[in-house]
């Protein structure tokens, strides 16, 4: 059972990591907590479901989910972020909360509040290795997560686009003086993060095969926790923190008692933050850039 629970924990962790990535793309770089990401994830799920239910292949569902969510993310950026660039960080956080309220309501009106379920499992193959059983979709989620983390880390930390993003976040005018098209760059960041959330929505929706308009809330919260534990400025952080939190959560349920799960999980998060106030990989660089 231990190994099976580890697999459960890792899958859950991968799920967290996937969503944490889209949060950290805008949080780590632009410094805004886009709360609507939880709902972009939900939307991605619904778009993906629509495609899967039309008997179309999974990659197509992924594309639909990513494109749909990226489009909505673009609207969130234009209305919910751009006008609040210069305001305190709480303000864009709340304007994006406005979007998440709207999106939940719209989804309820369009798809209903009942769980929408897939009748057949997509990628239902299972692999049994001894007592452990892993499904194809689980493996897909794990694989895609690692791939996306690597891709994103490369993009943000190694390419000039990532650097440009960070520059815009810190000082928009200066970035423009250096030739960075600031408006376009933030829009791209939001859409990218939206696309990630959408992809996560499709994969995770298909994995659990049931979604509701409120699916993003709890899992979004955990994903933010994962992002914070990993450190917002380092993409790789999420890849460590996600599975860590996933395993802690699952092991608490398995061996400690499921009642105290939230207590333990959040306690663990606080503990890590107290030991490393900028998260595991937050190395404390950009946040500590204070001098007199």
């Amino acid at each position: 059972m231990l190994i099976q629970q580890l697999v459960n924990g890792l899958t859950l962790g991968a799920v967290y990591t996937l969503i944490a990535l889209s949060f950290s793309l805008v949080m780590g770089i632009l410094g805004v907590l886009n709360l609507a990401i939880a709902e972009l994830f939900m939307l991605g799920g619904y778009f993906g479901f629509a495609v899967v239910m039309a008997q179309l292949p999974l990659p197509l569902a992924l594309i639909a989910g990513m494109a749909g969510a990226a489009l909505v993310a673009a609207i969130v950026e234009r209305i919910g972020y751009q006008p609040f660039r210069t305001a305190s960080v709480v303000t864009p956080m709340l304007s994006t909360l406005g979007f998440s309220i709207i999106l939940q309501n719209v989804a309820t009106n369009v798809w209903g509040s009942d769980p929408l379920q897939l009748t057949d499992e997509v990628l239902s193959g299972r692999f049994n290795i001894g007592p452990v059983s892993v499904s194809a979709i689980q493996l897909t989620v794990l694989g895609v997560t690692v791939l996306l983390v690597a891709l994103l880390a490369f993009l943000v930390q190694r390419t000039s686009i990532g650097r440009a993003l960070r520059a815009v976040a810190e000082n928009r005018d200066v970035a423009r003086l250096l030739g960075v098209p600031a408006g376009r760059v933030t829009l791209i960041a939001f859409m990218l993060s939206g696309a990630l959330a959408g992809a996560a929505g499709v994969l995770i929706g298909v994995h659990y095969a049931a979604i509701t308009p409120y699916i993003g809330v709890e899992i979004g919260l955990k994903a933010i926790a994962v992002m914070v534990v990993g450190g917002t400025t380092r993409i790789w952080g999420a890849l460590i923190a996600g599975p860590l939190m996933g395993v802690v959560e699952v092991m608490t349920v398995a061996y400690g008692g499921s009642q105290i799960r939230d207590f333990v999980v959040y306690g663990f998060m606080i503990l890590i933050l107290l030991l490393r106030p900028q998260g595991l990989l937050g190395g404390g660089r950009s946040d500590q850039g204070q001098r007199v």
Partner: protein, 277 residues
């Protein structure tokens, strides 16, 4: 006044206190998303004191405020190490831990909830709310409030001109926690039933929303925000199924029009020209 408006008014009063609890902490530049936790502590503690111990409500509220204030100080110290989103998440985690605790705390009903409190009147709730609002507004004219503003603006510079940021930030946490506990106690005695789900992070976010919508630089902003948050959904009922979509849109619209919130110091200066001299 109809019972309906009295009910809304009670909700506003309680939300006002919750918002003020966030306001005090936010005034020092710290965003707390865990005040529902302090509210829960206050709600359960006062309920226990009135139902099981038999204390009068007012005494119970004062005790709960003190205890929660101490817990707030205890939470405030480690919170000093954290900034921005890290602090917000840590406090949110604290709030969820409190909720999870009461969920398992079968002595007070666990997730089944707790009964037996006596109903308090709207007037009683507002007496508390107004007294605390007045005290905060009074403090806003005091030297300590200037120090709080200085710490929020630039903690390092504040330290270097002789202010003690630790004392101010931790103190604010304590005060915020105490006010949140009062909000919780009143909530419990208004609804005469509480369950852990009442104190989840959504409520903390409501508090923050009230503060930011109303204006986070002046205490009456919390009042304006609380009124809006309670009244708005009621007045949007004619939209039926689209009620909350409209609410979300209005929220964004309001921020777009007045990102500093409905009320701010500039507005006050305009209305009361020589208010601070």
């Amino acid at each position: 006044m109809s019972m309906y408006y009295a009910g809304l008014l009670s909700d506003i009063g309680i939300l006002l206190l919750g918002a003020l609890s966030v306001y005090i902490i936010l005034a020092t530049g710290q965003l707390s998303l865990g005040n529902a936790g302090f509210m829960g502590i206050g709600a359960y503690l006062t309920s226990w004191l009135t139902v099981e111990v038999g204390l009068p409500v007012t005494a119970a509220l004062i005790v709960a405020a003190l205890v929660s204030g101490l817990i707030g100080i205890a939470v405030g110290f480690p919170a000093l190490r954290l900034k921005g989103i890290y602090l917000a998440m840590a406090t949110l985690g604290f709030g969820e831990m409190v909720r999870s605790f009461f969920q398992n705390f079968t002595a007070m009903g666990g997730s089944g909830g707790f009964h037996g409190m006596h109903h308090v009147s709207t007037g009683y709730i507002w007496t508390w709310a107004l007294v605390i609002l007045a005290v905060i507004m009074l403090i806003e004219a005091s030297p300590i409030w200037l120090e709080i503003r200085a710490v929020r603006d630039d903690e390092t510079a504040a330290g270097l001109v002789g202010l003690n940021p630790t004392e101010i930030k931790v103190g604010a946490f304590g005060c915020g926690a105490a006010v949140a506990a009062i909000a919780g106690g009143l909530f419990a005695h208004h609804h005469v039933y509480i369950e852990p789900g009442n104190f989840s992070f959504e409520r903390s976010i409501d508090f923050v929303l009230a503060v930011i919508l109303g204006g986070s630089t002046v205490a009456p902003g919390a009042l304006a925000g609380a009124v809006m948050l309670v009244i708005l959904p009621e007045y949007l009922r004619f939209l039926a199924d689209w009620r909350f979509a409209a609410f979300g849109a209005l929220l964004i619209g309001m921020l777009l029009v007045r990102r500093q919130g409905l009320l701010d110091r500039a507005l006050f200066r305009l209305v009361l020209p020589r208010s601070q001299a």
